[in-house]
Structures are given as structure tokens and as C-alpha cells.
Symmetry: C2
Subunit: 198 residues, 2 copies
Amino acid sequence: MMYPGPVLRLMEELTKLPGVGPKTAQRLAFHLLKQETESIQQFAQALLAAKDRIRHCSICQNLTEDDPCRLCVSSERDQDIICVVEEPKDVVALERSSEYRGLYHVLHGAWSPMDGVGLETLRVKELLGRIKAGGVKEVIVATNADVEGEATAMYLARLLKPLGVAVTRLAHGLPMGSELDYAADDTIARALQGRHEI
Amino acid sequence: MMYPGPVLRLMEELTKLPGVGPKTAQRLAFHLLKQETESIQQFAQALLAAKDRIRHCSICQNLTEDDPCRLCVSSERDQDIICVVEEPKDVVALERSSEYRGLYHVLHGAWSPMDGVGLETLRVKELLGRIKAGGVKEVIVATNADVEGEATAMYLARLLKPLGVAVTRLAHGLPMGSELDYAADDTIARALQGRHEI
């Protein structure tokens, strides 16, 4: 005996989620079946509403309900500096630091030919458009400190510098509160390269 | 800046799933937002359909689309033996072994006062009704081999034996293909207690 059709189909859908195998799908399906009908309807509605109402901001490409997004239309943000990130979650991380008051640009990925992510799939054209429109003095490339992020940063630097904007990169070094002993070799190397007088 | 409302609500719903924390919910939400609208609609429909069309069989309490379920109405199953399990997935596990040809009864849990699962929340009354209706010779108690499963088995044995049915328990011992050296102490103890002549 197998599970009834609708249970199997639910498990099948759950298995499509990243990191969810057949066992987890089974556990999630039984959990969901035990919930009230109202909870399940709320979940389904949240799924549909997110997909239906969320789009990419036509300026910064971040996720938004309103286009342009709140950040792009805010008068409190510095208009002459753009911070380029890989994903929307990176915008949230940077905002959490309360250190940055400029604009953003979300690439939606990093250059990764091995994973089939070519430069043409990233939102680079839109970034170029913003810079060519004028008024931007600096582009901070805040892509991740991994191979893909570094390659993307190098590419962007080569592309943007001829346009007369300063292209900067976030500093790499020891995380605050960390112990030297536990730091990875390449982190220490970067921290040494970036050392500064105190 | 936080995420747009619909994204936050989706993350909130995902966080309600067992084993899903804020970071996983964020990852799942972004994965879902990247899917085609059609895929999301399929997912939402699978959720609603499972909740809407799946009920408990009025006889064995297993999950089913049709009531009574296929197993309960099958003429190929022995009608005089009932195997009692904790969850629907246990029925699937037992069916996989192709060893059992009787009926089932799903308790939907095991006696666990610590987790707020009292005996009254289990489908024991329905099991009693089936046995009192007559025709049942043996009840195999196939609850898990943990504290809750054992306690449930003891309780059921005390309840059912006076009704004149044989109450049996699955054998406990060394799993097939296992090495003695790696077996847990209580498994070895059970295997010794259950030893038989060869």
C-alpha cells in the first residue's frame, strides 16, 4: 500500500524544496495534514501572495511590492553611491549594520560558469544603465568573499572604472570578536594585506 | 529595511514547519520566489488538496481519500488480525516488508504524558469497538520500540486481553545485517531475552 494520491502529490511538491529529501517530505506532509484547515489555507495564500505581489524593483532589482522600491525613492539615502550585492538577503544584512546610507543594486547571483550562471543572467545591464544616467560617484562591490563573488567583483571593476566612477570593495579581514587562532589561512592573509596604522 | 510584507509572511509560514528556523525559511522563501508562478500554484494546490481530500478511515483511522480505505475493504486481507501502529507511515513500512496480510489500526501517536499526548487522544476507543464487534483473533501491537511505544503496548495489552483476543508484540533484537559490536546495550539485552533454538 502506498499513501493516498493527494498525500503523495504533497510529498512530491515538498521534495522539490532545497534540502528536503523523501524522509523530510514525509515528516513535513504529516505535520501539515495535522494542522487546521485554516492554517493550511493561510500557508497556501502566503505562497500565492508572495509570488503574485513581489516583483523586482525596476531600478535596484531588489524584491519589492511597490515599484520603484522604498529605498530607491527615499529622500534620506545618498543618491551618489551604489552598493552592489548578490542577493536580496545581502541588502537586509547590510541594512542591519546601520552603517550604509546609499542605494543598492541586486545582481541576483554571482558569476559562476560551473553552475550555469553567466554574466548575462546577472542584472549588470541595469547597473550600467544607472551609472550611465549619471550622478553616481562610487560603486561598492559587496559580493561575497568567495571565488564567484571575487570574480564578479573583478569583472564589475573592469567594466565600471572606465565610466569614471570609483569602484570599491568591502574590506576583508578578521571578523570582529574572532580569535586569530581559529581564523582560516586566507582570512589571515587578507587581514595582513589590508593592515593599517593605529 | 526589512523584506516586503508578502515575503515576510511567507517566511513566517515556513518557520512554522518542523525543523525550519529563520535562516532556512529565508532560503526556502527565495527558492520559491525564483520558481515559475505555475509551480507555486501547483504547490499551493497540493497543500489544499491534501488537506481537503484526505480524511481518516472510519475503521482503521489510517489516512485515506475513500472511506473506508482500500485496505479495510480489501477481500485479500485476513480479517481476524489487526496490527496496531502509531502513525500512517508505519503502515507503509510494514506493507513494504510484504510479510503481513491482515488489517491495521492507526493510533495517531503513542502515550506520552510529557508531550501532552494522553491515552484519550489516541484512537483506542475505535480499536476497542472493532474488537468488541467480534471476528478478531489477534492484535499485533507494532508501536515503536521506545519508552512511549512500550508504554502504549503495555496499556493496550491490559485493555485487550480481557476481551479474549491474543495480544502480540513485534520481536525486538538485532537488526538484520547488523554487527553485535555496534548494537546498543538494550538491543543486545532484548536479543538475549528473546533467544531461540536453532
